[in-house]
Assembly symmetry: C2
Homo-oligomer: 384 residues x 2
């Protein structure tokens, strides 16, 4: 009931311009005829739209490709290189950054290790190193970055303040967005890492095309990101997916079954224990397999709650432990099937460790698309 705005002639043109840009996004260079067909416009009209988009700087002409019958057609492409996007995954032990063009095609990536208990200053410095490393790799200036999106553990409110983050000490009661805006001169977005991972799997990974998806982050901590109706579900206070806070969901202590398994040799550093157990389970070690079983027994409770509540098409298993998806998927499917009304498909993440950075890039792309494709944001701005 919200938008009661009728249309003007110019609105129609605006709509058609956006449709044209949308048709060009991602696709390679397109001829006028191809564009006309895709947008449903006639060729002369399409030409006019294309001319306008060229004048505004959103689109450029590329040389025609010879070798085909008839007069060679002009080809147009979206100028994905007229700006850049940066995505950053601020993890507990690693900071990953990626640079992409406006289509979200990743051009460079870097990684900076960081101590879990690093101070705020150390963390911010590492972030800055990761980002500038990325920019240096592809000789890009920070001024050409249109948007920078961050993903991080914990609950971040709509203003970018950390509401809760047990895992990262430096994050306590922090105006993260404020700090990052002091460092970076472009618009700064912040989102929870599980939600970004879900978004990445939905755009490019295991969940492509699905409308309702539960992304299950399994690792040192357990979390969830939800795609509902094809869009990331944030929640009113951006605190969705925090079912691990519920003791009855049995997520919080679930990884302990893997950490304390008897198969782990003495002296193994605590952060490697779970990986060891999973590896042992893959080799058939019965003690490890039993530990995995107990882990899944716990994991399935909160998972079944999500599935019963949302009836998703798909559950995607991601996060650190999903490297051992072959060990986890079978038992998880078995136990989930016994508790569900309608069993969803259960798949492993296909993006692995890159999930969150990629999701951050996708989030930045989305932000750009929102600005472009939301009607009544006024006409397209001129760039350059």
């Amino acid at each position: 009931m919200a938008d009661l705005r009728g249309g003007d002639l110019s609105r129609l043109r605006q709509l058609n311009s956006l449709t044209a840009i949308r048709a060009m996004r991602g696709a390679g260079p397109l001829t006028l005829s191809a564009l006309a067909e895709r947008t449903g416009l006639s060729r002369p009209s399409m030409k006019e739209v294309a001319d306008e988009l060229m004048k505004l700087g959103w689109v450029e002409e590329v040389p025609p490709s010879p070798g085909s019958m008839g007069r060679p057609a002009r080809r147009y492409r979206f100028r994905a290189d007229s700006g850049y996007l940066v995505g950053v995954d601020i993890g507990g032990y690693n900071i990953r950054a990626a640079l992409s063009d406006l289509d979200g095609v990743i051009l460079a990536e870097t990684r900076q290790p960081v101590q879990l208990d690093a101070t705020l200053e150390e963390r911010l410095a590492a972030i800055q190193r990761a980002v500038s490393g990325c920019l240096a790799l592809s000789r890009t200036a920070i001024e050409d970055v249109w948007t920078i999106a961050f993903g991080t553990i914990g609950v971040i409110d709509v203003e970018g303040r950390v509401v809760y983050s047990a895992a990262v000490p430096a994050w306590r009661d922090l105006d993260l967005a404020g700090k990052l805006r002091e460092i970076f001169p472009c618009p700064v977005l912040i989102e929870n890492d599980s939600r970004l991972a879900a978004m990445a799997e939905h755009r490019r990974g295991a969940a492509r095309g699905a409308k309702d998806v539960v992304f299950l982050h399994v690792g040192r901590r357990t979390g969830a990101g939800l795609i509902i109706g094809g869009k990331v579900h944030r929640g009113y206070g951006a605190a969705s997916g925090e079912i691990s806070m519920l003791p009855e969901a049995r997520w919080f202590d679930a990884p302990e079954h893997l950490n304390t398994c008897a198969s782990v040799p003495e002296g193994t550093p605590p952060e490697d224990a779970a990986g060891y157990t999973l590896a042992a389970a893959r080799n058939g070690d019965p003690v490890a397999l039993e530990a995995v079983g107990r882990y899944i027994d716990d994991l399935v409770v909160g998972t079944a709650a999500m599935v019963l509540l949302l009836d998703p098409e798909l559950v995607v298993l991601g996060g650190g432990f999903s490297r051992s998806a072959d060990v986890l998927l079978g038992p998880l499917r078995d136990r989930l099937e016994r508790r569900c009304m309608r069993m969803p498909e259960v798949r492993a993440s296909t993006l692995g460790d890159e999930c969150v950075v990629t999701g951050a890039i996708d989030y930045a792309v989305d932000h750009l698309d929102d600005q472009l494709f939301t009607p009544d944001r006024g006409p397209l701005p001129v760039i350059r």
Copy 2:
């Protein structure tokens, strides 16, 4: 990425026609100037649109209202009476039917009691009686009913088959949509009752204006309906909200605390026991209050799961027990607050027993709106 359809001039007109209809829906008769202002069109254009809509039969002119300064303005209104909608709540013990105009304004209501263990034939006959009673009350012929929407307990799949319904024996393995289509000559919609209740509260009740809402159905059975992003969330197999199937959510047996309370006099019929306990609790009976406490202790687990997972703006308490919301809300808020990340508002239903029928009507209105307002359904059809 789905719709890449550019626009024609006629598309613009279509858009403006729909905008105009939308502006008239629900509102009383509007003058051209008022319509022009609301739609953003100029008066002459608005006139043309109105003329077209009149010719198609969607809109009619009503006599101008005298008594104001200047030349009296023509007034137009949406012809909500050019068709009718019926909503039906197929409950365990009662079948409620309501008739509304195309705006969803309810014109007549009826109720037919039915045995919980009635046979399928008895149930279908009761449904038919309820509907024809409704039609008779407002002297409407079934041929003038455009859509009939049903709400019922249980999981109904996308084709209208009953997948699961423990409460109503006659529903076992039933092609409900098929049966109902044999009886009623108009399009038949079927939806889960909790989802319809959620929809009604969202449109007309306690949840108006909220984007993400959890509707908590408390009664002989416990259920949930979800509004996400302002729309009802059905799930891939239309099985969302079935968290009561999870033992750890502690919903399934929760009402037993109220049924088996020591304050209930011997010989009370089992279906009245819970109501008795709630009434006693309202009067301060400590034993009853303790039973209510245990009930809420159970209820809050699944509720917290939903709230933590979805972070809704609002939780609406509806269903049979919500008549005693004054007794339930306090304890529920207390316990929920202790378990939540961000505490949502918790309110009682304002529609009470009419929730589901009203929701069914709203569902039918939505169906109509979808047909009207979804672009590229072609031009508006002529009616009458």
